[in-house]
């Protein structure tokens, strides 16, 4: 592999073509979860996959385009959360480059890390925009009881977001990891995949 920095901004045309596909996969992941009646969102598989394949910059761009597009076609509030998506892409891309996609256990770790990053970035937005709640019934019930027990807004809001993000992001990242492992060598090589796959 050529000595290209993992943070390089130079995008090949394939990577540019990968971004809309990553966004489409985000949407379709959610759609398939609905078709199969699964109690999950699974709406960032594409972002994570783009990050694993193309690195943190491609992941971040996929995340940004995802939320801009989501804002245009589904929910105008989602523009704010483009920041979260960008950081999901950055974190997944960088950690994948550091080898967190080599084993199933590492992939679970990657999922936890992505969930932490997502919650850390979303919390200030939730607090500044909406007083700390997320709109998820279970998370907000936790928020309310923590606040009533005297916890500060920031901690209550972080946990509100995190309890929802943890299972969803772990499964999202794991599904992305399984798909990544099954991709043809030619495609992975062309993406210049920064992440490593163990030889199986």
């Amino acid at each position: 592999m050529q000595a290209r920095s993992v943070w390089s901004l130079r995008l090949t045309t394939f990577m540019v073509a990968l971004i809309p596909i990553a966004v489409a996969v985000n949407f379709v992941g959610k759609y398939v979860a609905q078709v199969l009646r699964l109690p999950l969102w699974l709406d960032s598989i594409g972002t994570v996959l783009a990050a694993i394949l193309g690195g943190p910059v491609v992941g971040a761009l996929a995340g940004a385009v995802n939320n801009v597009f989501y804002g245009l076609v589904q929910d105008p509030v989602s523009f704010w959360y483009a920041v979260t998506s960008v950081f999901i892409g950055l974190a997944a891309g960088y950690l994948a480059y550091r080898g967190w996609t080599k084993t199933p256990a590492a992939a679970v770790g990657l999922g936890v890390a992505v969930a932490v990053v997502a919650a850390v970035v979303s919390t200030p937005l939730n607090v500044l925009l909406w007083g700390g709640t997320t709109g998820n019934v279970w998370g907000d019930a936790l928020f309310t009881s923590l606040r009533l027990s005297g916890f500060p807004v920031w901690i209550a809001s972080f946990l509100d977001e995190f309890v929802i993000d943890l299972p969803d992001k772990v499964i999202t990242v794991f599904v992305a990891y399984l798909i990544f492992r099954g991709l043809p060598e030619r495609l992975v090589a062309q993406a210049g995949a920064v992440a490593a796959r163990d030889a199986d």
Binding site: V16, A24, V35, L128, L187
Partner: protein, 255 residues
Amino acid sequence: MRPPSLYVPGSTPVHRADPVTKGVWAASLTLAGFLVPDWRGLALLFLLNAAVLARAGVLRRVAGLVLASALLVVTFFVAQGLTHAGSGEVAFRAAGLPFYREGLVFALTLAFRLWNTILAMGVLVLTTRPQDLVAALLMRGFPPRAGYAVASVVQLLPTVWAAVAAVLDAQRSRGVETDGGLGRRLRALLPMLGPLVMASLTAAQERAVALEVRGFSRKGPRTVFRPVADMPGALAVRSLGLALFAASAAWRAVL
């Protein structure tokens, strides 16, 4: 099920207004909403945007979006009403729990901020084709590669979406159960998403070749074939939006 979309086709003056002016308006008024400290001021912004949306004939669509946010609004009232005590004045009790007056007012402010975001952004997204927005941005020096990444999603999402039904048919016919217990349905996830992702990535590979052939990575100036002209009075509308934003910031600073 069809792929999601918010754009409502039409030919009202709001539809015909150029995307950049609408974008400036939507951004200024959204941000203004987060600066205005009082719900009554927010209610004014709400009415202003509602009037614009009514002129565009998309009130019904935006009402749907506001209703969809109902759950979030309820959590505002419950969470803030119970926890935001302020001076400690209790408005009412429900199930033995005290709901504080200041918390409820704060929740109302939050609710209006949410609705204001939906309405202000709605002025842009409900009346603008995403392609036109991208074309307008490209004319102002937005990088063509980033423009492509956004604009092509509009075209590519329906194709991936349509493949879901075909993959479902193919996998069920090879004995993959998609009904039944949670475990069974979870096991169908990979056979469903695998072909969708692999086919899409392969398509992206070929599409990259097609883009190269069409001079996508050529250096040098590009033409915008369908230029988007500014609406008449664009400057006035943009100035009004920015003025409202400035006024909100001033209100916030004074308090």
